[in-house]
Amino acid sequence: MATHPHPQVAERELPPIQQIAIAVLVLIVIGGIYTAAHLPRHVPQAPTITLLALAAVLLGVNFVLLSRIENFAWDAFRLVAGWVLVAYIVIAGMLEYVFVYDDTRGTQLLILTLMLLVFAVNIPLLLGFSVARFQDPAE
């Protein structure tokens, strides 16, 4: 194995941030499928609101877990997460445009917008963490 300047950083146990981020993604995907399966009719809101709330709570938990990691490669995290966020703002913006263009309004639009927001924040967090966990904080 190649020598590593900070092996304790490379191999240490970290919180299950990637697993939680995947759980958030699964919840948002299920919400998206449920919504798309009902459109253009009225979409029952209780299931989507429940999925959205669960996803938002898990995303919040992930931010707390992330903020508590000591000796983390924050520069690498910010580099990756920042650029991915830019890309996902464009993608989420495109989807929002399609919803508005197709006359989605009111509470349904609000729920979809919030789902997009959680999605667009969750993916940068996931990718930023996936890279930064293997980087040397000193670099």
């Binding site: 194995m1 590593h4 699964v26 998206g32 495109m94 990718l127 890279v131 293997f134």
Partner: protein
Amino acid sequence: MASIAEPTPQAFSGARPRVTIVPLRLLPVVVVVIVGMVVAIATNSLWALDFYHVVGGGLWTGIDLFLGLVLGPIIGSMSIPARVELTSRLMPKLLLIMPTLVTMTLGAGFQLARKLGNLSASYPNHGWLVASYIVVGVMATIALGLLEPANIAVLFELRKPEPNGARIGRLMKVFIYTSGITGLMQIATLVIMTKLASS
């Protein structure tokens, strides 16, 4: 699936190409494609929506099948230096190509279905359409949750002066296996889409 050899430190000792994470010179192509898709949706042009959905979907499915079922097993059986060389050139391009194709396919496809009235629950093949959402949802979860993080982490590892061979081996296993799974799932997409197109 081919067995995947563990990289050794010697695998990275020779001269390696400078790894680019995102090939910036290709970004204008992506911008042109995305702007074209916005125009297609805004004008609701049947031909333009059909073009974006069929071309995007065909390329997405074809590339996934090729990567998962042909190139993935080949990469797994390649020598480590050859695998590193191929990966460091292929993955950055995939980082731009795949999200662009997925956005084209899904954006134009949803608008096309809406324009044609296929989203309605009274559409005879509504169940097949929902099945396609589920297949795409599972593929998106695998791609965004496992495949892309492994892909990007490998590229960053390869940029280090002393890459960690064992780590690259683990991450490449994730990439190769998830590519195989999404490749197999694309067969379901082909079945569903040809069913929808022929009825």
